[in-house]
Symmetry: C2
Subunit: 213 residues, 2 copies
Amino acid sequence: MITVALPKGALLSDSIRLFQSVGLDFSAFQDSANRQLQIEDPTGTAKALLVRAQDVPVYVEYGQAHLGIVGYDVLREKNPLVANLADLQFGGCRMSVAVRAESPYRSVLELPPHGRVASKYVHCAHEYFDSLDLPVEIVPLYGSVELGPITGMSEAIVDLVSTGRTLRENGLVEIDTLFESTARLIAHPLSYRLNGGDIHKWVEQLRSATLNC
Amino acid sequence: MITVALPKGALLSDSIRLFQSVGLDFSAFQDSANRQLQIEDPTGTAKALLVRAQDVPVYVEYGQAHLGIVGYDVLREKNPLVANLADLQFGGCRMSVAVRAESPYRSVLELPPHGRVASKYVHCAHEYFDSLDLPVEIVPLYGSVELGPITGMSEAIVDLVSTGRTLRENGLVEIDTLFESTARLIAHPLSYRLNGGDIHKWVEQLRSATLNC
């Protein structure tokens, strides 16, 4: 039986719809009464784990799930040892640098040297500013990074932006984009090569379902 | 004006009650319609930031908040450069090792060498198993660590336990405790020494309020 790891949050409903289009029904995860984190498809051909987006690559890396769906942002941040098999075209967003609208900065090159940048994506932020040879201090936060510039703790933030509503509500504007992100289909590289659980068949079906969307 | 950082989640209501007992009212954070992450006490003597528990020490360390309330578990895990001023006696819980009830392990010393332990508290887990000279692999997860033993990815977990309900619901039992945790009052060491914003007065009042509880 094949096991897939699905991410809680923004990508869940599209992920469930994609698997439904190839005949696997994990919609029980969307039932508000459901507390189970591990369910079987009603046909008994597949199992799904419901985990945090950042944990999807962990379950795939450790071989607990043959396939997983996760945002490209997580792959860029954690650099896990998984095969990135397909761009699933949904969950589009971008990793951006934002500053207070009333600040004088309109490009990252204008940020003060040794200024501070708050982010949940510490690795992505480091990589980006290093590539520009801009010496900034990354302040690692777990949530509400927009508070960084509001409280004056940091000049800028690096964060994932989809509609931009949170930025607007907090008086922040984007000044640069690190990369665009979409949902990706990932697999354990060895399972994929050895075709455990008929992975190839499912991957082909998921790829065609994506192209026909 | 003094600024305090309050943690979202389990410690929030007791934290607000403590500050109310010394005359500072931040109960607006409990209003479900409130979306603000930064508010002023109605008397205008103090400001509060509402942040993730793990971010409280960051705001204090970087000098954006004079005082903060945070669980001892976060201090143990992140080891921030803050002054731990008082045990506030609420938010009691413990950092425990748990395994599946049907597993043969009844003590950490029985865990298989090079076995796997899933945890959100990677630093605490490493420190603990290193102190016992037990070579285990820590699997870093962001949420639902109980899925580790359930899926067979790990033999054990290290996690924060308060009532034990989550463990029971997932068929897990505690076999060891790393440490007990309660809410702590923290301050920026330098601000505290320099008595910025009349910190000493507030700390003394908060300490007496705690003792009189």
